[in-house]
Structure formats: C-alpha cells, structure tokens
Symmetry: C2
C-alpha cells in the first residue's frame, strides 16, 4: 500500500516507516525536522544519537534494502501539502506531524498559541488537500488518550450510547484535556470528525497511550535508532525515570504517583498503526481507536524501573516532588480498547522486558545523559502559566514562525481614542 | 462596574456598550474593525448605515451624555492585549471579538484556517493576559448554541450528569459543531474551561442563540445604529428573509426548512449579557449559559417574515433552494435554558414585534439593499469545500494576516530527496 507519514523524522514516525517498509508497503514521508531544534531549545538532546535524515535513508537502503522518499517541509504551508499529495497520491496518510509535548505547550502564552495554531493548521491543510487530491485516501490521525482526561466513568472508544432525560443518542465522548497540547488534539479530533462527515472521507482517530521503548524488530542497528528524549519537556515519565536511574539520581514520580495512564510498547504501537493502515475506514466513516495496551500508575512505572535498574546493578531510590501539573492524583481509569484487538492486535512486548532493553541501549550513551543532567527535573509549572525565567537557555519558541511567536512589538499608541470634543 | 468589550464595533458589541453605559457601567472596548472589511470582501455592506467609530463615540456623548473609551487593535497581538488590560484593569471582559460567520469559514482552506487560528489565538491571549494582569476579572465569552449541534437528546447548559457502565459523573456535554467557525467556538470553550480550572479564573461561556433585531431602548437615533448584515455570508437567515422580502424576491429557507434553532431578540441578548456581567462567576467557576429565548424552525421564521411583510404591504412568496449546509433537516431540539432566568432574565421582545421594527428600519434604506441584491443567495457550499470561483469579488481573506492567509508560495523544490547511492 502507498503510505505517506507526516512527521516521519519523529519518535514514532521513523520506526513506523521501517515497520511498513519491512511489511512490503511503499513509504514516503515529510517532516520539518523542528523537533530536533525544539529539544535543543530546552537545552537537551536525544539520549540515543540519531542520524540526519539523508543518513537514515542510506541506512534503510543498506540494512533493509529499501527506499524511503522524503519531503522536507511544513504542514503549515498549504502549497507544500498540496504538492506532496499531488506527487505521492497516497492510499493512506499517517499524520504524526504535530507539536507533541504538553510541558512545551505550557511554557508561556506563545508556546500555547504556537502549539494550538500549528497543530490545527496542519490538520486542516491535510484534510483539505485529501478532499481535493486523494478523496479516497485513508487518514490515520495521531491523537492521545489524554484527550479524555480522567472521568469517573469508563472511557469508550470515541463514542458512547447515552440516555438523557428519557431520550437516547450515540454521541462523541466528552473531552477534558489537561494541557494546551492535549486540547490541540481534541480540536483536531473535532475537525477530522467534521471533515469526514461533510466530505465523505475515511478516517481513523488514534487515541494513543504513552509509548515506551527503544527497539522494534526493524531497529537492528544504531544507524536506525529513533529518538529517546529524557528531559522534562520532551521525555515521558518512564524515559525520565530511566535517565534518573542511569545518572544515579532518585526516580521522581510527580506528586503521590497514583495517576494512571494507558501505555503501549513502541513495537506494539507500530503494529497498531499498521493494522489501522491495512484495514482502512469506510468512506464517510470516522472511527476512534483507544490505542494502548495496559494501564499503569506512575508509581508502578517507578517501581518497575527501580527493579530493572537493580537487576542491572544500579541502585535507585524513589522520591516524590510536587506535581507541577494540574491533574487528579487519585482517579478511576478504565478505558475500553476493543477495536484494535478486533483487527488482530496482540501484545508482543511486556513493560519489564522493554525496560531491560531501554536500559541496555541508554547506558551505552551515559555520557550523553551526563551532559544534560540538568534538564531531567521539572521547571514548567502548569499553575503559574509563565515559566520563561526558570527555563534553561530558552527564549522564544523555535521555527516555524506562528503569528504570535515570538512576541510582536507593541501597537504604536495605546491611548484610548476619544472623539474630538 | 468597569467593563471591557472586545469586538465593540460589532453587531452585539455596539448595542452592549450602549446598554451597559445606560445602566451606569464604565465601558471601554477594542476592535480591529475587520468585520467592516470582510463584509466588503464578499461584496456587501450593512443595510443600516453605521458610523465610523469616532462618530459613534461622538453620538454617545451627544445622545447619552457618556464616554466610551476605544482601542483599535487586534487580539492576535499579545502586546496589544496586555497593554489594554494594564491600562483598563477591567472587572469584567465581554469577549465578542471573533470571526463570527460560518459560511465565511467554509469558503476555502484559507478561510477555515484563518477562522480557527484567529479565534483560538485571541482567546488564549485574553486568558493569559487576565491571569497575568487581572486574575479576579470575570470573562464573559461569546460562544454559540451551534457548538452542540442537534443531538437526539435534550441539551443541558454545558454539563450533564450521566451514568455509564454502572458509574456516574458530571461531564461537559459533547459538542458536534456544523462548520469550521462553530468548531472554533468549541475549541475556545475547551480553552476557557481549562484556563479557569488551572488558574482559578472566573468565566461564563455563553452559548448564544441566533440574535435578531435592529433596536434596543438605547438605539434611539440612526447615529447609534448597529450593523444589519443580509448577505449569505454575514447575514442570518432572518436578516436574509427580510432583505428578500424588501427586494421583492422570494423568501428562501434552505432545504425543507425544518431545521430548528434557538433565537433571542437583540435587546434580550443585551439584557442577558448585562446579567452575566452583574452576577460574576466565582473564582475557579466555569459556567455555561444557553442564551436563547425560544426555538423556531426556519420555516416558522419564513412564515412570520411573510406575515409581517404582508401587513406592511409587501407580498412575498416562500421558496426552498437546496440546503448548502450539511445538517439534519429533521431533528429533535430541546435545549435547557434555566441559568439566565435564575438571574432574573425575562423576555421583553417577541419575534413578530421585532420583525415589524426591522422592516420599518430596513425599508428606509432599500436603496442600500438594491445595490447589493446579488449577495443574498448562497454561493458557498459546505460540501464542495472550495468555493472561490463562485464568489463575488473575492480573493484571499482580508487582514489581519494569519500564517496561511493568503496562500504561501510553493516550496522551492518538491522532488523527494534520496540519499546518494
């Protein structure tokens, strides 16, 4: 199948390209490479060294004997989006090209605006280009389990049947996101659902759990490594815990650590996306997949990390700094996830086993962690709303420019006008 | 009370300024005046001639003996927003400054992006500026009943108590908007709800029904007129019907005309906003008002218009062109609206009486309708998605510029890169 991956240079995008290629699909991708810059903006880098995109293409040729086509550019540019779709005419698009960090979106007003503007604009451009150029193409859109928040009821896969005041309907499940980033994903879900309806498109909205892992069966060589972010802005809790243990720091679940989230191994996330691609939605169908494998508390993650570290000879303690986020620390969490198993999804990796692999890979690059030791702990607070002074080597958000990032100069005069007397 | 109105030059903003002034409040406002330009962009103008803002200020002084402070500028400019709030330190902000036309947002990809980017950016800027400068200020945010769509159950005021799989919670009612514009309002609702929670702000989200009318008790003189748009992009169905009748054209409800919406007279909408301002939300409270007075079908509007026209000696027929929107033409519609009556809201105007007044005002400016006769019928179709060729004197969206409006030039080269062999 002809697949286009937006955000092909990213943590999921790159292993997805490898996985789809190895399964015989024809793969092209686009990326503006901005995540590399933005991780540098907060003073960090990937713990595993990653190759430039041309070198990635070379490694794919050498190690997999395959070609991957690449377009450098930004979904914020309408003509770029149109021209890539004209050239590729994909049968499926996996849309991963979005600002993906919740803490980054919470840094200040400009990062908030930039995140929502970029993500919504890219998705709208893609939707219009699909309608115009490849209306039969299946859009697989990356969302997040975080769109739902933590309601006190079970979380269905996108829609639920309700009774209210004696009548019934099937409605989208309410979204209660927990950061500007998560809200941007909620907004995208609305736009994709609406476009699918009015233009009879095919779409799958993936409510992705937190992904963990450094390996898939295709990542057989360091030249094929995907990113491993461990700083407080770009790294997940689990990645930070591993970095802390390797650095001899305490492992630090935020707050009480009872927050529960859905998780999935990198390899199984790739399996899920492939299943979505290989079983497209019908014309006019907007379907939602809750794409996670198991729910764990943050404390559980910390304890498993501690245990795996211990087995590798690293003694780590666990400490609980205050939670910088505004989130329930005790809550119900039971999202339904039946759609992917119905397409044949089976778990292939267990958390502990993946953690052993992560430790093995990351410890080889301990010097890269040492060099960035200062970025592991939280500096961005959800509550204060303006975190610039506390941040490391941080100023305005990096390219691509959005209308309000960086800050615009003041209007010439702000005296209120009064009509002549 | 010290009130700042964003969008003070608009259809609601201006009468609200007059109403709050007449009730003794201290009123300032801001506006980028862009609606005036955008109505010109689609080849139209307000049927009732409206004064420039300096002349509006002069008329307020002359006729009401009051001052209204004005800042010309754009909520898209962060420094402008900050500086107005620094200067004014309002106790309440009524936020009306958004792109407000559904058909405008549906013209093409650039108008879609512009609408969502502008509306979300302005609201985020306002939220951050409130947090930073006037955290105790009450934000009254204009949304729309259209955020809810037309579910097959009753529509609560923002939140509802549900039972699902044996557990219960109070959740935001699901939104199913019907245009990019309506979705932008849904996005704003999410952002306002979230900011209120994390920063302990005070907010009221107004799910506004369709407003009709040319008069309030304060609009006693043509120098105080507010806009009356009648073209298919900026005018409501009712306004178009009046224009059609005055022009001797058939009245044209779209499709079968069974679509039901909530409506409220201009004067009663101003009463509602004043009540919201005078009864602020508590710190940390995000409350939702379904602000409409009665639900009518489009056919009912057409028939009452026909009847009132007849009584004024105008014979009009009713015709049903195909519906350019993608919407249910037969549906349940029973939104709850108890919150405003609990604050003392009472209906003061009836549809038929307001229509008589509208006809009296608009007929005096029949020449202004005649000059724009060609803009009353729909040219924008929700389904085709790109409507530029059919439109009147229309090119790229007008200022303020957004990242993707107007279209950006193509990237230099679009040959996919391949690594050297």
């Amino acid at each position: 199948m002809k697949v286009l991956i937006t955000g092909i240079d990213g943590y999921s995008g790159w292993p997805l390209a490898l996985h789809l290629l190895s399964r015989g699909h024809d793969v092209a991708g686009l990326d503006n490479l901005v995540t590399r810059k933005r991780v540098a903006e907060v003073g960090s880098w990937s713990a595993l060294p990653i190759q430039s995109f041309p070198k990635r293409q070379e490694a794919v040729r050498r190690l997999l004997g395959k070609e991957v086509r690449f377009y450098k550019g930004d979904l914020g540019k309408w003509e770029f989006v149109r021209e890539v779709l004209e050239k590729e005419r994909p049968e499926a698009i996996v849309h991963l090209a979005e600002q993906r960090s919740a803490p980054y979106s919470m840094i200040d007003v400009h990062h908030a605006v930039q995140t929502q503007v970029e993500n919504v604009t890219g998705t709208l451009h893609l939707l219009y280009a699909i309608r115009e150029i490849v209306p039969d193409c299946h859009l697989v859109k990356m969302g997040t389990m975080g769109e739902y928040g933590t309601p006190n009821v079970d979380i269905p896969e996108g829609f639920f049947d309700i009774e209210y005041r004696g009548r019934s309907d099937r409605l989208p499940f309410p979204r209660q996101a927990g950061s500007w980033y998560h809200w941007s994903k909620v907004f995208d879900s609305g736009d994709v659902m609406f476009a699918t309806k009015i233009w009879n498109l095919r779409s799958t909205d993936v409510m992705q759990g937190v992904i963990y892992g450094t390996r898939t069966p295709e990542i057989t060589d360091p030249a094929l490594f995907t990113r491993f972010d461990f700083d407080e802005t770009w790294g997940t809790a689990l990645n930070r815990f591993v970095a802390e243990a390797v650095l001899g720091l305490p492992i630090t679940p935020y707050g009480q650590g009872h927050q529960i989230r859905g998780f999935i191994a990198l390899e199984d996330s790739m399996q899920s996306l492939r299943l979505a691609v290989e079983h497209p939605a019908q014309p006019g169908e907007y379907r939602v997949f809750n794409q996670f494998d198991a729910a764990y508390s943050v404390n559980h993650l910390a304890e498993v990390t501690q245990k795996v570290a211990e087995a590798q000879g690293i003694h780590a303690t666990i400490e609980h700094p205050p939670d910088p986020r505004v989130e329930a620390e005790q809550h119900h969490y039971n999202p339904i996830h039946d759609h992917l198993p119905a397409l044949g999804y089976r778990r292939t990796r267990e958390l502990e086993e993946a953690l052993q692999e992560i430790f093995r890979d990351v410890r080889k690059y301990k010097r890269r962690l040492e060099a960035k030791r200062h970025v592991v702990m939280p500096a961005v607070s959800w509550r204060t709303g303006d975190n610039r002074p506390q941040l490391h080597a941080r100023s305005a958000p990096t390219a691509p420019p959005t209308p309000e990032a960086p800050a615009v100069p003041a209007a010439p005069s702000l005296d209120p006008t009064r009509s002549p007397a």
